[in-house]
Point group: C2
């Protein structure tokens, strides 16, 4: 099983604190050492950093720490290979373009009977179940909508698509188009929304503390989603199996 990390904010924010704990799960505090990746949306653009080295020792991960990119939507993934060899083509997150928007997807789980999820327009480059599921998901969206629909219509469509994917196995995933971040839980996803009054947070994976009241402005709001809680002194909410949440501007949108 892999580890997922997502961030959705109302103002561009760096993910250095959360990533510092998260990356240690790639080879130090957990065994997920089969590559990693992180995608930062910056307005319509997107930067995707991938490496097949463990995130705990990757030079690319060092860059992410030393060059704090500010973003409203971030998705990161640390891989423990279940299907597909360890190489760059099989490293999450995956990126495609649909309706003139970049879409980023990362998956934790194991899907089977993939012959029933044969994509057409979007084709996997590597040989993971995850990338095939992503391509099939985008195919479904492209078939249903010729231009990008409203957020609510997208959410309704993704709810149906995620439920179909989940019939094939464990399907925790994060998905974003740079405006909205969707989180789907099969077995394990937790989230926290940080907003004023900001407090002090302490990482679970290393002895590092940050006082968010020194790092933020009063109106800032940041949602962080992770496979397991990243801090040991805050209250994270466990998502329910089958639940699909839509985060916009750092908060859950009602549907």
């Amino acid at each position: 099983m892999c580890q997922l990390l997502g961030m959705n904010c109302n103002t561009p924010t760096d993910i250095v604190f959360s990533f510092e704990g998260f990356r240690r799960r790639g080879g130090l505090t957990a065994e997920h050492a089969d590559g990693w990746g992180i995608a930062f949306f910056e307005d319509a653009g997107c930067r995707l950093f991938l490496d097949y080295l463990p995130s705990s020792s990757s030079p690319v991960a060092d860059l992410v720490r030393s060059y704090p990119i500010k973003s409203k939507n971030v998705i990161s993934h640390i891989r423990k290979a279940t299907q597909g060899v360890i190489n760059l083509a099989n490293t999450h997150p995956f990126q495609r373009e649909l309706w003139g928007k970049y879409w980023i997807f990362a998956h934790n789980g194991n899907l089977t009977e993939l012959a029933k999820l044969e994509p057409s327009r979007f084709q996997p480059v590597g040989n993971t179940d995850s990338e095939q599921a992503f391509c099939w998901l985008l195919d479904q969206l492209a078939q249903q909508f010729s231009v990008m629909p409203s957020r609510i219509e997208l959410h309704q469509a993704l709810s149906r698509i995620a439920a179909q994917l989940a019939q094939h196995g464990c399907c925790n995933f994060l998905l974003s188009n740079g405006e909205t971040l969707w989180a789907h839980c099969s077995t394990a996803l937790h989230y926290i929304v940080r907003q004023a009054p900001f407090t002090v947070a302490h990482l679970s994976d290393m002895d590092l503390t940050v006082d968010f009241s020194n790092e933020t402005r009063p109106n800032d709001r940041v949602a962080v989603i992770a496979t397991q809680p990243l801090t040991d002194n805050e209250t994270w909410t466990a998502m329910q199996p089958g639940e699909l949440l839509m985060f916009v501007d750092g908060e859950i949108q009602k549907t």
Copy 2:
């Protein structure tokens, strides 16, 4: 006008020497300071590093120097904005997936009357003429071939497509699917093929010398393509206006 750099090899090779001179054109030895990017194919996978900071001072460019990624196909671009504001979405190279392969494209020039190059399946995310041309190019390929055709068929199709693009203005471009690298010249592209016996090369943009005989094996072959020659003691070949060359395993393929 922007600056292009491409490399195509028969064995995975790092581009550190060429990139060290090339990056200086982004803000130091030339004025192309409106962002830059570099794409490395590694088998089917691809790593794309983008930054809107000048390449001469970018932390991401520092990473490319300190973490020498070995690749058989590399495309890099330094931007001097002509159309489209300076942001990540407008930063070359651009990436899309077609037929289960990643395609990378970078362009130097200025195209007009883009309404005649309206793409459908592939849509630009930013607002440059270059990304629109790339999307249109892929649309043409996707319409002509439902699965990836032979290299020769691709070359013939790209010859027609490049000629159509060139009717809209200056169209120097580099394109690769990780197996083949195409270079199209409208006004300025130069190349060199390095193979045994390897010699000493000296950069034009800084006082740096490398003795390739110490860095290579006898059977290595590396083609480097750049807007302007990167070294001042080797013989580069100027491409002709309208010429499309196809590089495979470090050499030009006859068509």
